[in-house]
């Protein structure tokens, strides 16, 4: 009997030992697997993360660039805030953000540069069963988002839409609940058209929305808007177009109502040609005047964030240069206006600071 027991114990011991060996083996495999992964990525692979706004264009770049240069570009559209965090923590080779870095973020990042690489517009979407394309002005939009205008048939909305019979319908304000460069662009615009907005709310990727409901991502906002009669929300124009949502013609300072499109974006891009020391350009709500007659007032550059000292510099610099030049031609079908030559030049000059 004892012999039997001992035998059993031995086999149990053997099983335990086997298990340990198996665990060790799995651990070894996963470790070597990981190192194999990193080895592969160092030869022709770069990774980035950040804003959703440029994501449709970056998706095209990924395909075209890999086909042309056989360098694989990974991009994770996790939002501007996430992109800033990722480049700060060095978990990616490049970040992307619609909101330029704040001085705090620059110092936290330690040796980062940013340059504008994508140019597009934010559309203000609405859901009303009306055939007409509705007009909207900045001050009225700000008061809607402040919760001061609650009804569609408010006198101020009727006044800018003469001849349209707008029914008595509650307005549902929809905003991005996650940190978002689109929110940054949108609130920067409201800042310029409403003193009340500027003092009470301000601009940023996340703000203290006075009213409304939040939804996650452009898809979340567009989803709530499309399912809710009377809703108003905002998303990048490419998104609104792809999903066949209605959007306002916005009044610019030249007094024209403009739809977000390539013409409007190009005109707006003329509004700021003076780079800040950190390559910022602000083109929301361009001034009035003949030059800006066609400008759409809620446009923005989106930025790529790079570390000046990067192991992948030899792969990153050619990719970003390609994106600034060749890559721009893939923009217009997605309503990304190619960036003007002086922005390309500035970008190339900034890239010179990046080294391995």
């Amino acid at each position: 009997m004892r012999g039997q027991k001992q035998g059993k114990r031995k086999s149990r011991l053997a099983a335990a030992a086997g298990l340990l060996v198996a665990i060790a083996a799995i651990a070894t495999v996963s470790v070597t697997g990981a190192s194999a992964d990193s080895a592969r990525s160092s030869s022709g692979e770069i990774s980035g993360a950040g804003a959703t706004f440029p994501a449709p264009l970056i998706a095209v770049w990924q395909q075209r660039y890999e086909a042309a240069k056989s360098v694989k570009v990974n991009y994770n559209a996790i939002g501007s805030g996430g992109g800033i965090a990722a480049i700060t923590q060095k978990t990616v080779d490049f970040g992307a953000s619609d909101a330029p870095l704040t001085p705090d973020q620059f110092s936290a990042c330690g040796g980062c540069v940013q340059l504008p690489w994508v140019l597009s517009a934010t559309s203000v979407m609405y859901n009303m069963p009306l055939k007409n394309n509705l007009h909207m002005t900045g001050p009225v939009l700000a008061d809607i988002y402040l919760g001061k205008i609650k009804k569609w048939n408010d006198a101020r909305i009727k006044q800018i839409n003469p001849g349209v019979s707008i029914p008595d319908q509650d307005i549902t304000v929809v905003y991005r609940s996650d940190g978002s460069g689109t929110s940054y662009n949108f609130t920067s615009y409201l800042n310029t058209v409403s003193a009340k907005w500027k003092s009470q709310v301000g601009h940023g990727t996340t703000v203290n929305w006075p009213t409304g409901v939040g939804a996650r991502g452009s898809s979340g906002v567009a989803g709530v808007v499309s399912r809710t009669t009377g809703a108003i929300g905002y998303a990048d124009i490419a998104y609104a177009l792809r999903n066949h949502l209605k959007f306002f013609s916005m009044k610019n300072r030249a007094g024209q109502y403009r739809r977000p499109g390539l013409v409007g974006i190009r005109a707006a891009s003329l509004a700021d040609r003076k780079f800040s020391p950190t390559n910022e350009l602000s083109i929301v709500n361009p001034p009035g005047g003949k030059k800006f007659r066609k400008a759409y007032p809620i446009c923005t550059y989106s930025y790529v964030l790079l570390r000046t000292q990067s192991q992948k510099a030899s792969l990153l610099k050619p990719f970003v240069t390609w994106a600034l030049t060749t890559g721009q031609q893939y923009g217009p079908p997605l309503v990304f206006q190619p960036i003007p030559p002086y922005v390309v030049a500035r970008g190339k000059a900034t890239l010179k600071k990046v080294h391995s």
Binding site: L13, T102, G179, H203, V213, G214, T228
Partner: protein, 323 residues
Amino acid sequence: MAVAPRSATGPAAFKRRGRFRPGDTVLYVITLAAALSGLVLLVLIARELLTAAWPAMDRFGLDFLTTKAWDPNKKLFGAASFIFGTAVTSIGALLLATPISIAIALFLTELAPRGVRGAVGVLVDMLAAIPSVVLGLWGILVLGPFIVNTLAPALHGTLGFLPIFSTKPSVGSNVFAAILILTIMIVPIISSICRELFLGVPQELKDGALALGATRWEVARGVTFPYARAGIAAALILGLGRAVGEAIAVSQVIGNNVAIHWSLFDAGDTLASRIAGQYIGADTKLQINSLVYLAVILLVFSLVVNVLAQIIVRRVAGRHSAA
């Protein structure tokens, strides 16, 4: 064969047999490590959270709990509206789920024909297997519009004098949607535990009551419920814990608004939902610190709920065995 006395535990229990048995030592070490790892993990998580939340805790102190604002631009953060939202959604879900779950369990153990029991039981349990993000999507696409078009007009029309139904929603994202989603999530948890509990009630007791002429309901009320009291309380608290911690599905349907509204048809937010929604896109260190502060509150909340469950179970069980 010599058997170690039951009271002796630890390595001494093995040594007493006079012979060194490596297998037993290995077993002891492995099980001890497993037992300790849970504790160590909890301590490490708590420490990490406190470290990451410290700048916000230092800056806002306990005022954080009573501050309603969440304003990155003014560098002002507070948890009041999220604590309120968490309490309202989880308690609301518990109030709805309790009668439903107990009814399901009672039906399946006492009333349903044999053939039905298995099938319905499996289906109810399968509700628990729906990933929360899928349930959230269903909440957005089906439940939200249903609330706006059907449920809310009816409730507002008949019970509109109650503060909780005092507004009419224009959009499917609201606190009520979150409550319903959470209810669906916790019903299978509570009902499956209750089912096991009711099955554990000795048949003699039930037979005795029936023999005395008690109706089915009287048996349930007089025998089954008192017998399973402690377990039901624990099941409810488990359900509550699940509802308090759920992030994704809630953040999909609740409307993510920083506000304290009495009407369930307005948008709100919960602790877990806010953390899930904003951590990745957070701009400033202070915002991240504040989000982690929310996580600390959530952790304390959950620990309190769990300890409460233990206390209730012990107390009710003690009273029960004494009776």
